[in-house]
Every structure is written in structure tokens, then in C-alpha cells.
Symmetry: C2
Subunit: 308 residues, 2 copies
């Protein structure tokens, strides 16, 4: 994100940061958290724009529909929440035929079925313009306290799921939102802080560090890099800054880290990699090489918002 | 709406009509209704597109922000639900400056404050394209059973609030969503069916008739026409088909109609006009003139969706 969007979001947060009246957590995390009769209900919204988040010459309408739902499902995962239902707002190019509209809907539906998160409402309009798909999703906490960005503690070990980088080669259209993995993890250990990697490791770890008022050190050689990123000119940069990995980044105590690494994790569970630790600080992230030398992490997250 | 959108929505409904698992009412009403620990929570989403729902050469960003919230507030009114909180997805033209973005936000905020419905989350992205604003709103039933489109009964009297027609002269940007009026009405009388007038009287009464499997007769001379529509070439057509009045259309028993017309309604309460009655049928609407002669109502609602 550029400085400009940060400013706008900061200003929005001042205007809107609404807690009280059964709203326990407003803007500034992956989802807002509300109380209904003693139960925590969460909400998130994600806008996908043609030419920004997908390219219709390389993605099918079905893939776009799937991605639109999967982005919000990934927000649920980031809070360890159970997806409940969703509504979709769509602006459809007038040039589309019914088959394309159907395909888009089938993509939404595929994700809805896989994650048992039905679409319960929608508003579609056609226009002489590019495709816009906005999914808003509700989730429920159901026995798992929502995991915020702000709970990281000095001494925590930082983990990521799966492998990072190279999402633009196609993975960003068909990724697996880590909904089930997040719920399992939250039941195994005490997740102090969590986020899904949408802006890139560097940017999203920055959100955790800022939200938790801590710093972080990442071990350069520990970062799990995806095969498609290994082929690129700068695999490390790809893993740190490509964005749209939609893997989970989380922190746990050293004791819980030990349990995750050496405990009885099922063989089929997603790969979990410790990549560094939380240190005292105020948002700074250092990258440590094999000799122990550190340098400030300067790669910024994927800058598609308010881009320059 | 054109035939094309009806087909698409019908198809969507077949795919998605999801009840069960705490979802008591899915696509097909003004809001979906869900149960959380015994409390009814409602959700709606509305997409506003530049060049379709507003024209930035005639509307300020502040007006657009207000309208975006007010459309969803009007959906809450249509169900007699109490607005609770909202999230906004926005695609902002890259050509905008911060002042324009701020103004948009202030418009959203104005409606949020007036109706005590805070914005709790959002997703904004800039692009080289036109403004899109998508508001998703949650509401709570709180002591008032949600009023559906499907409850109209033969013999009911049909009422509208306020005056109709001529919304495009500017009223569509600054209308009063009838949230408070709907809650008051629901506590006075038993509202059998209700909808907000977004597509025009003819189209929206059609939704009630189809949803309730009944017909309707409208008294031509009874329709309350707005001053701005009276100046047009065809004031009746304006009142029937302009759309975006955002007044309420509802049906009550003859006994309750009597109470509404002759009971102690506060003088400051919005104007309530009986315009016709529900009759046996399957969706047909007749227009009755002063001599008692009827003709089928053929004006279609405002066809901005999937336009021709």
C-alpha cells in the first residue's frame, strides 16, 4: 500500500473506529468483531477489481468468483473464525453474456460449498465498464477466541503456513484459504497474533508488529519459498513482497512453538515453518542472514492500492 | 429490471436459496434473515455505480456517500429492522484527490451517525476507472418480527408513505430512509408485507404480489405524486415508474387500515396514503380510474439493471 492509502485508512479509522454498542473490534484487523446475545460474530469485506486484482485475459470468470470468496475466507482464517454466510455485490460488464455471468456465480458457489458458507444475498447491476466483485462475509467465533493482530509478545516464534512467493503465476486464483488449518492450530496452541498474507510477508508482518507494538527478526534462510518463485530473478524478494500468498502468519510462545515443531502434527497438515522471532521494538523488522548479520527489511508489500 | 436480469437472479436463487443452518430467509427479500443465539440478524448489500446510480457531474462525493448508506438503510426500513452496523467496499478513481475521498467518507459517516449505524470495516482500492461504492449493512429485529414481501393477504389495503415520482430531480441523493417510520408502523399495526420503492411503484408492488401470490388494484387518483413529478409530461407515469423514491409500500388488514387513517397518528408522522387493495390473483396489477374502469398496469420499474 502506498503512503496515500495509509493516510486515508488512518483518517477513516479516526472517523469510524467504533467500539461499544456490541461492537468489540472495529476497523484495523482482518475482521470486525461484534457481540450478538453473547456470541461473537465477525464481518469482513473484500473488493476485487478487474485490471487490479485479476486480469480477464488470464483468469476465467469462474476463477474470479472463486477468488472473490476465497479472499474473504482467508480473512476468516486470519481470525481463526468459522465462515458462516456471505453476500455479493457485483458490477457486470454489459458486454458479458449469460454464460460468463453463470461461470462467475459457479466460482462463488464452488468456494461457498467447499467451506460451507452459503451466499444469502446479492446485488448485481450491469454497466459499460469493468468487472467488480465485492464479497462481504460473516463468521462466528464458536469456541475459538478471535485471534487479533495485536497480541504478539516479545519472545514469540513467528510461523508461516505453506510456501511463499510467485502467486501471480496463477496460485492467487486458486489458493486454499487456511480456514480449517487456522481452527486446528487455535485448538492446539495459543495463537498470540495472526494475519493472512495478502500484502506480502514484509507488509503483513509489519501490520502485526505495529498492532502489537513490537519488532521482529526474520531468518533469511528459513523462509519457505514456493517453486514458482524459485524460478524468478529474486526468489527472496518474491517471497517477501509478491503478496497474495494467502498463507497464515502467526506467533506463539517458544513452548507452543516446540509443540508445533515436535509434537504429533498429522502428516497431512499444511507445512509449518518457524521463520523468526518477535523482539522488543515499535514496528521494525530485521532480516538476519546465515552469519547472524541483520539488515532492516525494506521490501514493501504488494503496492496495488492507490498505486503509484 | 430487464428480462435478462430477472433470468440471472432466478438462476442465482435456485443456486443459492439457502435456508437452514441458522439462515431463515435467503435471497429474494430486501434482506436475508439469520438466527444468532435466538436473535434475528439481517443483512443486505447495495452496489452504487458511477454513471448508473449517480452522476458525478451532478452529485458531490458527499451525496454519493450518503446515498450509498441510505439505500441499505432503506432496505432495513423495508423489513422494519433496526440498523446495526455496516462495512463499505469502494473502488476510488485514481484521479481523485484526498479531499474527494474525505468527502465521500463524510457522506457515509453522516448517514451512519443519523441512523446510529457505525461503519465497522472497509476495503478501499484505487483504480483507473469510475467510482464504485458497495455498502453491506447488518440490522437486528429487536422486538419487531421482520416484515417480508410474501405476507400480503386478499382484502389488505395497500399504503405508501410520502409522495412518489421525480426522484431524479435530486431527491434520490438526499432521501430520508424510512427506518424510524417503519419501526413505528410495525408497533402500531400488523404489517402483512412491505418493500421499499427502489424500482418504482409498479415494479415493487409486483414483487409483493409475486412473493405473496396475490394480485392488486391501484386507484389511479389516489397515488400521491411529488411536486417535482407533477411538473413532468406524465406525472402518473413518473410516480409509477421513476424508481428510487425510497418510500415504503406496505399492506395491512382493512381493520388496521382504518386505525392508520382515523387513529391518533402524530401530526408530524410521514404522510400515509391508501392507494388500493390486494385481490386474488397471481401477480397481476390493475389500475382503476375514477369511473371504476380497470386496465392492466404495464409500466415497468426503473430499468437501469442489465439495461437494453
Amino acid at each position: 500500500m502506498s503512503q496515500r492509502e495509509f493516510e486515508f485508512i488512518d483518517w477513516l479509522m479516526q472517523c469510524f473506529s467504533s467500539t461499544g454498542r456490541d461492537i468489540t473490534r472495529g476497523i484495523g484487523d482482518d475482521m470486525a468483531v461484534m457481540m450478538v446475545n453473547g456470541e461473537q460474530v465477525l464481518i469482513t469485506t473484500d473488493v476485487l477489481l478487474e485490471g487490479v486484482h485479476f486480469d480477464l485475459s488470464r483468469a476465467t470468470p469462474r476463477q474470479v468468483g472463486y477468488k472473490a470468496m476465497a479472499c474473504s475466507l482467508s480473512d476468516c482464517a486470519a481470525m481463526a473464525a468459522l465462515p458462516w454466510c456471505a453476500v455479493v455485490g457485483a458490477a457486470i460488464p454489459r458486454s458479458w453474456n449469460m454464460d460468463q455471468a453463470r461461470e462467475l456465480t459457479q466460482g462463488l458457489q464452488k468456494a461457498a460449498k467447499t467451506y460451507d458458507c452459503p451466499l444469502v444475498g446479492g446485488d448485481t447491476t450491469s454497466w459499460d465498464n469493468r468487472l467488480v466483485v465485492n464479497v462481504t462475509m460473516l463468521a462466528r467465533a464458536q469456541d475459538v477466541e478471535p485471534v487479533l493482530r495485536s497480541g504478539a509478545q516479545v519472545g514469540d516464534v513467528i510461523f508461516v503456513t505453506g510456501e511463499l512467493g510467485g502467486s501471480l503465476a496463477g496460485r492467487h486464483l486458486e489458493f486454499v484459504p487456511r480456514v480449517n488449518e487456522a481452527r486446528r492450530l487455535a485448538k492446539w496452541v495459543h495463537l498470540h497474533a495472526m494475519i493472512d498474507l495478502s500484502d506480502g510477508l514484509a507488509g503483513d508482518l509489519g501490520h502485526i508488529c505495529q498492532g502489537s507494538r513490537v519488532g521482529a527478526i526474520i531468518n533469511k534462510n528459513a523462509i519457505p519459498i514456493c517453486v514458482s518463485a524459485l524460478k524468478s530473478d529474486n526468489p527472496l524478494k518474491a517471497a517477501l513482497a509478491d503478496g497474495e500468498d494467502f498463507e497464515l502468519l502467526f506467533t506463539v510462545s517458544a513452548k507452543d512453538a516446540e509443540r508445533l515443531q515436535h509434537g504429533r502434527v498429522e502428516e497431512t497438515f499444511v507445512k509449518l515453518t518457524p521463520i523468526g522471532e518477535i523482539v522488543a521494538g515499535s514496528g521494525e523488522i530485521l532480516l538476519r542472514d546465515e552469519t547472524g548479520k541483520t539488515q532492516p527489511l525494506t521490501y514493501k508489500g504488494w503496492e496495488h492500492h492507490w498505486g503509484d
